[in-house]
Amino acid sequence: MTTPPPLAERVLRWSLAPGDREAVIGDFQEEFEAIRETRGAAAARQWYWTQTAASLPSNVLRRIRGERLRLRSAESADDRASRRNVRHAALVMVGVGLVIGGAGLVMDQATGGAFLAFALVPLAFVLLFFGLVLFFNSLSPWPERDPVTRAINQRRGQILWPLFLCWSFPDKIAPHAYQHVVARWELVPLLAGIALMLWPQKYWIFGGFVPAILAPQVWSPFFSTRREADQRIYLPVDAPSGPAQIGDVIVTRGGESRIGINRVFAAADTVRLFAPIGIGDAPVHVSVAVLTAHDTVAAEFQPVPTVSTPVEHPEWWRKPVPPTAQIDLAMPLHTFAPGNYRLAITATDGTAGCTKYADFRVAPDIE
């Protein structure tokens, strides 16, 4: 029995989208058999090769289109926005480059060829700043997913503009007599200090070596943001490893991105307790005990943990966040007498478990 030419069949298979292969190669096979029976094997082989070659462009185009559609339907809204942002940022950068380059060439002609060498440095400088601003703003090719961090980055991107102006134009805007005071090189330490204060610690390359005084991580309400989803105002806090104080609230970082707040509660308060729980494959049982100063149990709760979905970051350098469980417990304090207490949060999956403690104090209500 004569079979279709193997090479032609391989070319045909390669050119087709996976979803088309079954039906189209079957059609080729059926037609090949029909021609072989009526006109002979040579005519059938020739037909197979001719059809394969003639169908190649349309098959490949259809395969590419299908692949693009599949990729687009699989990507998230954030990924789509990222793709648009990359295009937008690239267009802006090219546009800025062309405008500045064009202006440089005009100036070069006007000054008889003396300008271009000097224009290249400012051109690179301007493009660098544009790149930084785009990176920190919504045009960034890699937009930050966390809304709070994104808001901070946008503010920092806006702050880069005055720095750019300070750097680029002091010798042009300052009166000649004062230019030695605001000359560029004398601004370098000032700009470096400001940049250190503004730069998010998570992006520091040498995070551990920068003295804390240069980078106050608990920032002012200047950076607070209103989240559109729930209209709440958020104060983003990059908590340092040691405790920091805002008013009468002490903020500490218990672990990677976990913020704890130690404070004195009034008896009329209801404490809402959120606690992340690391989970494995087995279901986790959580109990929360409120212990008195003498370690007797004043109250016990059995909250049911809710399991989060894992988070995959688009940026290759960020670790994926594995699924975690979280308890959300509302604990009215009016049943507790004023005094010092200790929360004991115990999580166990039957074979292993751990307990974390947090101290708090209930103060008498102030009338």
Binding site: E22, A23, D27, Q29, E30, E31, E33, A54, S55
Partner: protein
């Protein structure tokens, strides 16, 4: 009322071939039907490109059959006209009929 999607010439031929083949409309039979009736060569790639486009427009639907031995154990992809496809075909026919009206005596039909 919204007009049905407009059809190119080849798309009309493909849709008409599907109607002619009724329950037996798949790649091979559609292509043969067009080649026999129009006496023009149709490549398999061009046919499937048109069929994909028609399916995206919602004018045809496709279903895979069970594998058959004469095709090396491969399935057939059967095509059927949707109601939108039928409307589009009818609309194209009406448009041509209106455009031809009164021209029959002016433009003589070609021989062959």
């Amino acid at each position: 009322m919204a007009l049905p999607p407009s059809l190119g010439e080849f798309e009309q031929l493909v849709l008409l071939a599907i109607v002619h083949q009724d329950d037996e409309a798949y790649g091979v039979t559609i292509r043969r039907e067009i080649e026999e009736r129009t006496r023009r060569r149709v490549t398999v790639g061009a046919l499937y490109t048109a069929l994909d486009r028609l399916e995206k427009k919602g004018l045809v639907t496709s279903t895979m059959s069970k594998p058959t031995s004469e095709r090396g154990g491969r399935s057939k992809r059967y095509f059927a006209l949707t109601s939108t496809g039928e409307k589009a075909l009818r609309h194209a026919h009406d448009t041509f009929t209106r455009m031809w009206a009164g021209l029959e005596s002016t433009l003589r039909p070609s021989r062959g």
